[in-house]
Symmetry: D2
Subunit: 443 residues, 4 copies
């Protein structure tokens, strides 16, 4: 099977990398992956997949951090102009940019593969030092850039889809290909999970290109992602003339300031690390007006989901009391969230075994601490249902930036204007993930 | 009538001053005027008055700032040992130390005269420089002293009672003599007002000896008393080991600290001056325990009753929110209060006219700003019912302390361990108040 | 002399009103009165005055609330395009828009007359209901409008200049005509005062058209202006990743929040009313970054200059401590300020006497409380030097808005997009002020 | 040697347990171990040791948490009455209650053994259920009790002293026996360390009886003690009448409240756990007085010494700024402190080897997290100088309290009124420690 897969990959490699560059060129950020999602749906359909899209695979009210309607509309129009698939564009309108396709061949395990599609709000480097610009596929959309490799993930998904369709008869069971929007800001996964997309899955696989790792290096099961909650808060009070009748105001800035101090003062927890940050606070209008509105951008984190929940609960208590302190109205809007989750060791070991059969991979254990990933929502759900889940790191180099060994713990260069990776990592990912699927489903 | 009153006064003067010294010697502080009140009731009864006492003239739950039961019991025992009237001691038990007596002669105006009876928690000066000690009537009760002249007020009340009974047939109407406990800390008046004691009164008269004014100087209508509310607050949280499980505590000290900052930050009011003070804060037990209890002593003030109410309402809002911020229980106990009130000009003018007939008094207009007096509760009620009220300042010198003109605005020496006044002020007060009563009731 | 003045006024009236409409049409806000000031200087020069302008009459560093250089440059270019005087435009560049001219005839008192020239950042009403639009002189500069009558004041100044030059030989002494920029936001007067412009003045006169007063009504000496200080504050800390290394940040938002709470908690003052307001607070960049910069817009007020100084001093103490609390750098920029000042009664009486000779004026006493005016800086300086000062209110009606008597205490309609006044108030002001000057200098 | 040691132990066992009961009966808390220390010095002298005591082995100003002079004097008198050694009592006056004795036999390693002597401020259980009471050696000093076993440690020290003197010629090198005061509250070790007591030591040994462990169980090297700093803070402001002139006060309660909020808000640290607690806050005098003094009891903790230092530094910054905020004076008094330290594995292994030779001990690895011990100051110093250190846990049962396996991680019953332990643990400790000394010095 390794040979067969290798052969197909060789055939489709150029096309797949073309896909990646196309997605890169027309980068779309979270909830506006209209062109990307519509083209994914189109290609899956053309390969013979049945496609579920938009509201079929997403719960409306769980889409966290959704942009305003004007921005959704403007970007949808752009997608149309930039060659989005006319048919599927209708289905993804208003930020319903999730796509799922299913391949079924008899009874057998149900495997889910998740690919994220969104770019970041970053202006791409437009100098010849930057390979994507030099090669002519830098983002044409201002202030939007694939600076985290999700363009590669999406292309990988399409490559796997093509191979699996080819070897369809040699596997038993069901494969679900899940193309998720809005991973950045950990906004998108929840709405697909609550829509039930992963409820029947026995094995869940995700992957991420690692710009800090060399090509050939593999982290078979990443984990220790921090649980996090991201939310926006508005205190609404009542304005008054600060000189003439200060007593008539309900001072939202005093509510906000009281909240800030007390949020940071939430007790440390004995069971592990916790975090809280008020990253942004905008309050008030004019110098001589009692402030009547204050907006805060907040996030909590926890070493585990429980610790994050502790922080979030305490934060809500503080915010409610701070609002009451000055008779202000309180509005809280969830903007993103992730769980703490770990790859299952059993599945990681299996992945390592499969990888070993292919070629000279080097393996690294799971990284500790640090960032968040919203595939954790999916992993948790699958694990809670008795299934296994793993998120695989695929060494991808970082072209143009020298990496020393000390820093390899960081996804070097990710989220910067000069991010890039070796496109061979795409074929590595296609080969590895396809063979893991085959390993599980051949039984 | 002036002649007649003068004659009686000459006869009773020595006795009345003896009463004053007796009250001074056995000084009793707020709500523990057991001996004083029982002897007042005894003497009024002996004069032929019908006496109402204790629960008949006081509303239980409106007695603010009541001491604990143990302290009430201990002081009641002391009153018994120091010669309180056995019969009436029973009626004043547990802090029901108000006394009212009524003189009625046909139809006519109803006049109320109010006398306060309580001493202060001050250790009296026990040196020969201090006249009361030198003359042998310094307080024998440790840390309790008549340092504000209420002993004189009570004696004055008994003097007036005796004269009025003598001239009873020459006046028409009703006189209510009101002996009030616990004026210091503005704790006592409210309970007599809510018991209805002043509800039927047409003219209310109070008086205060003024140690900063010379004998013969009169303030016919004092006013501009600040409205105030005094209250104690307890936050009750949950203790926890600060090192082992800080997250398990509900930190009452954080509630208290948040409250303190936000109480002082209550907006200034455009309609007049406002004040707030947290005078005392005790919180916590051990260094390594999350604080589970915090006690605060607070007071608000306002130039008017409305402004004080504004401060008190805002303070309650802050306190409630501060409690919720850390899931603490909140308890608030009213400890004292006074209204803003002014003497009616019409009545003040009448007082000035009566005074002018007697002798060469010097008159001073009402003082501005400053302290609080809880006769204001009575004045407000009478004025709200359409009656007139005035509180009269009686110049009384301050023996032993030289007074310069700059400081006469202050009741010099009041509330200090060397306070004293010229006892002739007692006869001045008896004469003036009796003749005002006669002036009103002879019609 | 009244006759003579009346005759001249009749001759120049149309021209002066033309000036006013021209200033209105090309409204310029504080520190950008380039066109206005250059034309004032041109006309004064043409009348035969010696003109001092720009840095000659302004202290650079005391120009509070100066816009940024780009804005100054842009508006200067606009002034050039809109017909500013080429010669004088050079002198007022970069916000040096003050003009002073002197008329001297032998020895005698030195009189200063102050006129303010700036408009407000308000979009003028552009409908036919609004007289200036209907008559074709509404502001052509977007979001800038003479909504407080300073266009009229400037025109009045030019009218007075013309008459005084004509009657020059009949007066003895010196007249200083002071055209001040940036009165709105109380930003401009200080820089002319510290440049010494009013140091030698014996009598200072200012005036303001009062849209809430009827034509013919006069307030001979306004006062009780609140002292105020307006200032911007920046806390600069150090950013850090809120999840990865929160301990590395210096949190400017915590400094700002601590400051806000403690600023509002500055103790109330027993000697009069005080105010403080933090009108605006912007802090932070991204949700997951420890906030490294916070900007606050603050103002203090006081019933007197001393009370305002008390608030400002306390505010500085709080701000410095709040910065240190989180190792932040603190920057404070004064943006405006005014003193508490009162018109001298002696001078007000004289004004009333002069006014009485002219015709049937109605007089109103000084208004209480309320806003601030930065002529107070000049008044204080003159008064401190032993001179007399008065600011005169000139009833001016408010066309198009019905005024009820209750609201006449407010300068009705001022600072709104529909502000207007009866232009006859300009001739009233010219006549009255000229005759007061004559009354003082004829001696 | 084991045999020899066993033999001596059998001879002295009863005497040593007698010592322990004597110390228990006359329990003395931190810095007042006058009787205990003087008797220790007496017995060591009688054994032939040269004794250094008081100021010879303690740095005056590093004695943290010292009681006031009155209390020191009172307890010294008690020690005298209860049979303290007259000669040595003079040397330990005023809280200089440390004792060191030295045994030197030629060149060789220098070993230090540390024993703590202080009791706790706890009222001992005086019922027959409590063995020490039943046996007649419960503490006769009210509210002072050996509830942590230091009486046993001191007795162990005397036992070892006797044996070592006996086998003196069979060992080579120097033994320092260090009897330390005030371990509770982690107050005493620092003053002996800074006096240089452990500067020349190659091997440092401490031990603690473990009431939660069975007799025969041993923890050869305890560690992971939390670093901690305990300190008292006073803000001194200026009082003022809260109604009459609030602006004249410097409000220490506002300083304290601002400090409390910001202390708890000190950023979490990414490198490990940190703690802060304000356990107690007392502020203010009367309700109507601006608070002029506030006292706080604070402690910081950290997983490592560096983390604790971080917390302490930040706390100082917050406290200084809070004082300046209201022009208050700040006083900080260090009341206790401990470092984070671990037993050296090399030494722990050696201890295990020695123990194994003796009999059937069961070994437990070091405990994690939890409390603090100030032997850490000594361990750190020795380790920093290139020496080795270990603190040994000696299973001691807890008579009368049933121990389940889950809770054995806690020193069960310690710091309670019913604490007790099996006195056989004393002979276990003597035997083990003596043989470790021999093992090291015989070489």
């Amino acid at each position: 099977m390794i040979e067969k897969v290798n052969t197909i990959i060789k055939e489709i490699e150029e096309k797949i990398i073309g896909y990646r560059r196309d997605f890169h060129r027309y980068a779309e950020s979270g909830w506006t992956e209209f062109r990307t999602a519509s083209l994914v749906a189109r290609r899956l359909t053309d390969l013979g997949y049945e496609v579920m899209i938009g509201k079929e695979v997403m719960k409306d009210e769980d889409r966290m951090g959704l942009p305003d309607e004007e921005s959704l509309e403007k970007n949808w129009q752009r997608a149309k102009e930039q060659g989005g698939d006319i048919h599927f564009l209708d289905s993804v309108k208003n930020g319903f940019t999730g796509v799922v396709s299913i391949l079924k061949n008899g009874e057998g395990p149900i495997i889910g593969l998740r690919f994220d599609m969104d770019a970041l709000d970053i202006q791409e480097d437009l100098t010849d030092n930057h390979r994507p610009y030099h090669k002519g596929f830098a983002s044409v959309n201002g202030n939007v850039m694939h600076a985290c490799g999700h363009d590669g993930h999406t292309a990988t998904g399409l490559g796997i889809a093509e191979i699996l369709m080819t070897i369809k008869n040699e596997i038993k069971g069901t494969v679900k290909l899940i193309f998720q929007p809005a991973e950045e800001g950990v906004m998108g996964a929840k709405s697909m999970v609550t829509a039930g997309v992963v409820d029947d899955i026995d094995f869940l696989l995700g992957h991420h290109v690692m710009s800090g790792w060399k090509l050939g290096e593999i982290i078979p099961g990443m984990g220790n992602y921090a649980a996090t909650q991201k939310f926006d808060v508005t205190f609404t009070g009542k304005p008054a003339h600060a000189g003439g009748s200060p007593e008539k105001g309900n001072n939202a800035m005093l509510s906000a300031s009281t909240a800030v101090l007390n949020l940071y003062a939430i007790p440390r927890h004995s069971q592990g690390y916790t975090r809280i940050n008020v990253g942004k606070l905008n309050a008030g209008t004019g110098r001589n007006v009692i402030c009547s509105e204050a907006h805060l951008l907040i996030e909590t984190r926890g070493e585990t989901t429980e610790l994050n929940d502790y922080m979030y609960e305490k934060a809500l208590t503080v915010l409610k009391a701070s609002a009451k302190m000055y008779d202000c109205k309180l509005e809280i809007k969830e903007m993103g969230g992730a769980q703490n989750a770990n790859s299952d060791i059993e599945l990681s070991n299996r992945i390592e075994k499969v990888a070993n059969k292919i070629s000279g991979f080097t393996f690294f254990p799971s990284r500790k601490g640090g960032g968040s990933e919203d595939i954790t929502y999916m992993m948790k759900r699958v694990q809670d249902n008795g299934g296994l889940a793993a998120n695989v790191g695929i060494g991808a180099d970082l072209n143009g930036i020298s990496i020393n060994d000390k820093n390899r713990d960081a996804v070097l260069g990710a989220h910067t204007s000069v991010f890039d990776f070796d496109e061979k990592a795409i074929t590595v990912a296609i080969r590895l993930l396809t063979l893991i699927v085959f390993d599980i489903m051949k039984e």
